[in-house]
Symmetry: C2
Subunit: 218 residues, 2 copies
């Protein structure tokens, strides 16, 4: 694999699946620009400039500016769904799987904040068809989390009054990390993940969430 699929942390290199190289550089530039300024405030000239190309080069690899956003959104949502699905289908109790899901989901939103910001907050800039495709992926994310909580209720581990509302709140809490998290802030993605896993276990009524929590880094 010449495109460096694996990083030191064992994580798959993001955007590794996008080829050729020029198309990937444009896409990465677009993610940065969209995250900083928002889709509508970003110009195609800015994207091309960040990728070290002329404005016209963008249109060799992408039909429109919206196609860039669509591709980013789909890849990002597939990654998010993958994270939640892996945690949901893992071994362990519902409490462990929920903590794992929230922890890794939050780590992704904090660590890959630029991508997450675009993925979670620029949805409305897509046209109706593209939007519908992405919304379907989001519903599958919701179903994964709801499944874990249902398991916990069935097993008597959790105590929730409103299954759908609680699921919505848990996902909402995680997603909003992309809005406020800053690399210059006092917390690492791991720390936020651990904090949020604990908070979510409390939300679903686990008695002693701190008994064997995910370890904070410091």
């Amino acid at each position: 694999m010449s495109t460096a699929e694996e990083t030191a942390g064992g994580e798959i290199e993001p955007w590794g699946e996008v080829t050729p190289d020029a198309a990937r550089r444009l896409l990465v530039a677009a993610v940065e620009a969209f995250a900083e300024r928002g889709y509508h405030a970003t110009t195609t000239r800015d994207i091309a400039g960040r990728a070290g190309m002329s404005p016209a080069a963008l249109y060799i690899h992408y039909k429109t500016k919206e196609e860039l956003l669509h591709r980013i959104s789909r890849i990002g949502h597939e990654k998010a769904l993958d994270i939640l699905r892996t945690a949901a289908r893992g071994e362990g109790s519902a409490s462990e799987r929920l903590a794992d899901a929230v922890g890794s989901f939050v780590r992704w939103h904090a660590g890959r904040r630029t991508t997450a910001r675009v993925v979670q907050y620029e949805l409305d800039a897509l046209g109706p068809e593209a939007r519908a495709e992405i919304v379907a992926l989001r519903r599958r994310c919701d179903a994964e989390v709801r499944g874990i909580i249902e398991d916990g209720v069935a097993a008597g581990e959790f105590e929730v009054l409103d299954l759908k509302g609680t699921t919505l709140a848990v996902l909402s809490l995680c997603i909003d990390v992309a809005r406020w998290f800053s690399v210059h802030g006092p917390r690492t993605p791991d720390e936020v993940g651990a904090l949020y896993a604990d908070l979510v276990l409390r939300m679903v009524g686990v008695k002693r969430p701190g008994a064997a929590p995910m370890q904070s880094q410091k």
Copy 2:
């Protein structure tokens, strides 16, 4: 007061303080447009059109499009701060005040979703000075919530491991309501407020949050 300061619910009519009438209509139109499409995707022609005026009329009352956003943001944040301050300085235990703060804050984000969306998500479109002013208001909101949680910890009602992190998460949870809430959805603002008050009490470690919860409307 000829401008209908009070509504049936006893709530102050929003934007009642904005005069003259034409300026208020333009501001309300801008709130709707910004909430629907985002600040950058909204044109001054669209705002003026919604207010039933020509594009030039906007500039009689506002110097720039950004001044509209600034005014909306300041008024909205002052309202949000007022809601939290009222709850924080009320009577009752820390649990009751926290439930009250979260409940009313969430009701505002759901019931006045268009305003809240602009206020919470279009901050980055402001210039540096205006942005700094709004950020200061946000910090005061944070301080109000943190104060209640501190009180609860001191009184032995709450059990939190990370005061600042928990405060951040509580506010984040409430704010994100503006992103997902829909008037076409199955929940009323009151119901979401009650649900969230319960979830937040659980997050801070209150043992039996449902013992005397805020009543749902139905």
